[in-house]
Symmetry: C2
Subunit: 473 residues, 2 copies
Amino acid sequence: MSTSNQQSSSRVSEDLIRALASELESQWGSDRISRNLGIREQHANTISWSASQPPDLVVYPLNTAEVADVVRSCRERGIPMVAFGAGTSFEGHLNAPHGGISIDLSRMKQVLAVNAEDLDCVVEPGITRKELNAHLRDSGLFFPIDPGADASVGGMVATRASGTNAVRYGTMKDNVLSLKVVLADGSIVKTSSRARKSSAGYDLTRLFVGSEGTLGIITEVTLKLHGIPETIGSGCCSFPSVKAACDTAITAIQSGIPIARVELLDAAQVRACNQYSKLALPETPLLLVEFHGTETGVTEQAERFGQIALDLGSSPFEWSTQAEERNRLWQARHDAYWAGLSLRPGSRGISTDVCVPISNLAQCVEETRDDIDRCGMTATILGHVGDGNFHVIPLIDIDNPAEVEMCRQFMGRLTKRALKFDGTCTGEHGIGQQKIAYLEPELGHEAVHLMKILKRAIDPTNIMNPGKILDLG
Amino acid sequence: MSTSNQQSSSRVSEDLIRALASELESQWGSDRISRNLGIREQHANTISWSASQPPDLVVYPLNTAEVADVVRSCRERGIPMVAFGAGTSFEGHLNAPHGGISIDLSRMKQVLAVNAEDLDCVVEPGITRKELNAHLRDSGLFFPIDPGADASVGGMVATRASGTNAVRYGTMKDNVLSLKVVLADGSIVKTSSRARKSSAGYDLTRLFVGSEGTLGIITEVTLKLHGIPETIGSGCCSFPSVKAACDTAITAIQSGIPIARVELLDAAQVRACNQYSKLALPETPLLLVEFHGTETGVTEQAERFGQIALDLGSSPFEWSTQAEERNRLWQARHDAYWAGLSLRPGSRGISTDVCVPISNLAQCVEETRDDIDRCGMTATILGHVGDGNFHVIPLIDIDNPAEVEMCRQFMGRLTKRALKFDGTCTGEHGIGQQKIAYLEPELGHEAVHLMKILKRAIDPTNIMNPGKILDLG
């Protein structure tokens, strides 16, 4: 069922892999390369619905120079490479449809510098966002991007990740100052200085943010950091309709309330959370909201938000600055995926995402809910409302071909609907293997053609994560 | 003295220009093309110190299709093209070292859509930022990027412009949602959907933001807008040293005060403003600061800022939310360039900019001031302190070769100093012709090589604004 089956599947020869493995083993020792099937399978797609296509070899470099060495060795032999961080991507990013190697960067997780006065840090790509925030705890700073999973920073750069608080802090696009990248020829590029802004030439940083390992391998990341807010206030309120919830978010943002997070749970998702987390929320659309600022500022934001919500028909907005209360609320949000699964024990949750201009969000969500109900599927909807981004998580029996096909067709309709509303086929998950077919309907032939020109110019032999983002034929 | 003299100067033939002119005249009529020398000179560099290199022909398209037609005609004939907006760039962006045509987009200034609920608008590239804000006035929204000059939106995209309030609202990189661009082969690319964020493939939008017309001609821009703040508070205070002023800005930002603008005027600039605008400010480093928010929020921000400044040795922070008071204060800032000129009547002010991590800003500014004084030059310094970005405006007698050479050498030292402090040779003016030589020292050979790969792949015959950003040999 996966689109990866449509990729040409000429595989790299066993001889070439063996030669590379023996070369690396002699240089690095045997504990930093693996041909074990279990390990290889862990490095393919473990949490998506695309068929697993494991690499032939997994290697664990320790620094940029070693990555460059491996890349040169692969380039000489024509061996495809897939960069691996924490393995949390959804759209088949990690599959090796032509075989080749997985370059596992998880042993490169040093924090190389924290420049507290400049609100930035320099890290290796394998560190996860939670590890980074643990490291930063005593500095008064934090790295805000939160895609839910404890993804690696390198992987988050590669997929242009975001998450719940992008509405205030932006996405990875906005929070990367500079990168070090190994290109297909083994050369090492520094994309920018550490200055907060620059007009010096093409934006090489943004060229690699979201390139999904197809243009180079990221070996160092300079990130913006933010001061930990003095006060955090969180709360929730229930709405009679998705539209009333979305209109509340739009009005609040338009009136200048600097919301830090605003998450929509549809009625099905609230029902699942009630069951899973033993809550007693009204089973209608819910907004979970968070504010960052001074105590006065947060109070003012929360009160204004509550009034807007009430005017649009919500229940009273109940909120708190107490950590315990806040955590209880957000725990329900963080458990949403698992709660959803509990609606249909034994099923697989197939998470996907689209993003539309916020004025179209309510209608897009409502049409999607109708579609789900018409299919007789079980699925929950969760939205980062401030960005117009929402997730649909159909729960399917992955061993039932009819269900899988129904889900596949639903995903196609979902994407078409997002495009109809002037949106994108993915707000934060990326294209990988599974959304290649949607890129041209979204952006047109000329834009995809231009992307192919970039790919061919930078990776002329197509050995950097081939079969992702673009179908090069 | 300009680096443009180093460019190879093979010019396009008069026959080809004549053929193009006659083709366009028959299609468009005679009022939309010009070969008049005065007009052509106005389309070269009028406000920079590089030698003027006028185009052979100026054409005025009215829409994307006409731009595509002109580009195809030029491509067939090998005629170089320079896109022209409002002519406010500093670094020789508009010169035509090989001759060719200037595509003047100033007649394409329609606002195509204002999507108030989505906080975005779609405009043609020739509209200026002030025209756009006049159009938006009744919507409660505004476009915040303010580079000083009334630049065209297309030009601001092309140079990755920013200005006084980038510290809060970001630069053009952060405020462009999508572009329509005509490539060298005449094809028209839409770079993104109108969604607030996307992970759909390579970031084509950011590929063109800052590309200075060398990769394509921007014919449509979708911009983020922001709600006009409920309350604006502005104020200023004087410091015993540049370091005390910079430390105040750093501490305020680090403590989470969402400053909207924070501008440093050095003592020489304050002296100039006193003379020019009949003020009586203490002639020591000055910060001009602005806060946006609710009345309560602005009051809290201003009081906190004032306390931080006082702790670091400033005079009392005097501020106001009254429009008249605020305008008086910012008028002095807006007149800074003209005030500077008054320090040396008859001279030319050669504005340049660099940007460094904010922790290095004070030292970089102080070393620069020492350098200016050692040379015996007259020059003012103005900084967007929140970003680490500052301008130096030497006042020189442009007809005195010794002074010009001294200034050229000073500019070289200034850039080297910025790089020593981990900064960039330009925070917001761009590379143009005049900073080409600084790009490789800043980013390294590999990064510049990658930029050349991009340029050659997208514009293989080098007809889009040749001789800018990169020296293709």
